[in-house]
Amino acid sequence: MSTLRTEEMTLNMGPQHPSTHGVLRFVVRADGEVMREAIPDVGYLHRSIEKIAEKVGYRGFMPYTDRVDYVCAMFTNQGWGMVCEKLAGIEVPKRGEYCRVIAAEFNRIASHLLSVGAMAMDIGAMTPFAHVIREREMINDLIEELCGARLTFNYMRIGGVAWDLPPGWREKALKYLDHFDPILEEYNALISWNKIYIERLANVGVITPADAINYNLVGPNLRACGIKWDIRKDIPYSVYPEFEFEVPVGNGQWGKLGDSMDRYVVRIREMAESSKILRQALEKIPPGAVLAKVVRNFKPPAGECQIRVESGRGDMGWYLVSDGTGYPWRVHVRTGSFAAMGIIQKLSAGLMIADLVTLIASLDVIAPEIDR
């Protein structure tokens, strides 16, 4: 008597799949509906941005940093500005630092809004996405008035920021924040506490705290595992020590600690914290210059340095080696999305194919940031 022959199925997901958040490919080995593993195949969006830095010089590289992570470009701007300033020993004026923090925190809200909205859309709820895009457009309008662009900001410069806050902008920003805080509650009522939504997210893609550290997870993904680690608090930079804010961590309220729902809720809570920081920053912003005096032909001394920025996707590292000429010798960017890609293969074992989309969305990976 012969037995029925079964075999493992190999599926290809991407590179042009709407749920992979960019050009990203997964090779899925599945046993029926259950995945054995999903192997991420990165590199489709590699634009050799680090190499471009060696060719365009210090000032010319600033617009390129926008393209490293286009969803939260302010942080990549800030990272490049900070690493150059640290190497050359430039001190940014106080008002410049405040402008940076204000722009960056608005950008964090916009980035997290897109993340939570896209997550709902990947799971099948279309309406929340329209809601978050509406809110994001309003933030984009504010940032557009501040720096003239909606996506690739190029707002910061080595030594400060390129534009001061325009007249009346502060009031507009405060007015927007007054509008935003109730909207967050409304959004939670719309989708976050929906029972079906929680069932789809809870206990999916559980990351233990030990795994999160071993796989080098950063940012909201790490904090969702209950580990309180935020660069803004633990290795403070810019003027963050002057603000009071909480670092939200996951608590496993809906399932196991470190599941997709925890990662989702940490992002929602972080938006409220960013709103708190923004109110304090807009209140306390001092008068004065926003741009330090930097020679036109910027040449940092030979040497190397590294800085860390808490971007929307977590700890972003910028490493710069200079040989004393007008062009960097080597630039390296370490991004949170790339670290998050590493753990997908481990997490996907035993998950349903439909949950792979949940997993990718909950890790909030952005394809250009993985490949750079």
């Binding site: 365009v56 010319g60 617009p63 210059a289 926003v290």
Partner: protein
């Protein structure tokens, strides 16, 4: 909790949370719509509603271009080509070519930041669709023109003065390195 009561509880939770979500959705029937129908149903052109700092398609006021090539040097992708030669007889700088490839341009604003007179600046125009790449190259010099030379005092030529004041107003938007804030703005 028995399995049956948990099952009933789940159903109750699902129905009540869906109802809450639908209440938010339904409330939008009463609110003003946020969407607009672009471009034919707009009460005003979008270009006119954009902020002054908006970085749209580049424009050059040749009347106040000094031919210093600062913008060409500042451009990280070399999308600006300028040919400026010194006339041997009159000792004047003659601009014979000023091309910007707006297909290559990434609208970063580094050129307009470097310009000393605000001659090269971004407009609020953003609709640049065209049929060929060649027609996306903006050629600003029709016939060779003499480059603008900054005067010691204020500009007196009635033809150039308004253009220059607009250019300087654009420059005032940029942060001045280490200096004071632009005039006419109160510190917040």
């Amino acid at each position: 909790m028995s399995a049956v009561s948990e099952y009933a509880h789940n159903i109750k939770d699902t129905v009540s949370t869906i109802f809450e979500g639908m209440a938010v959705t339904a409330s939008h029937f009463m609110r003003k719509p946020y969407t607009v129908q672009y471009p034919d149903r707009m009460p005003v052109r979008v270009q006119d509603t954009l902020p002054f700092r908006y970085r749209g398609i580049l424009e050059v006021d040749l009347e106040i271009c000094t031919g210093c090539l600062a913008c060409e040097r500042a451009c990280p992708i070399d999308c600006i080509v300028i040919v400026a030669d010194k006339d041997q007889q009159t000792r004047q700088l003659l601009l014979s070519q000023f091309d910007i490839d707006i297909a290559k341009c990434m609208y970063c604003g580094l050129c307009s930041e470097a310009c000393p007179t605000g001659s090269i600046h971004h407009t609020t125009e953003f609709e640049g669709a065209d049929y060929s790449l060649e027609s996306l190259i903006r050629r600003f010099v029709k016939d060779p023109v003499i480059a603008y030379k900054a005067k010691k005092g204020p500009e007196t030529d009635p033809r150039i003065a308004p253009i220059l004041s607009r250019g300087m107003a654009y420059l005032d938007q940029w942060a001045q390195p280490g200096g004071e804030k632009p005039a006419g703005e109160e510190p917040a």
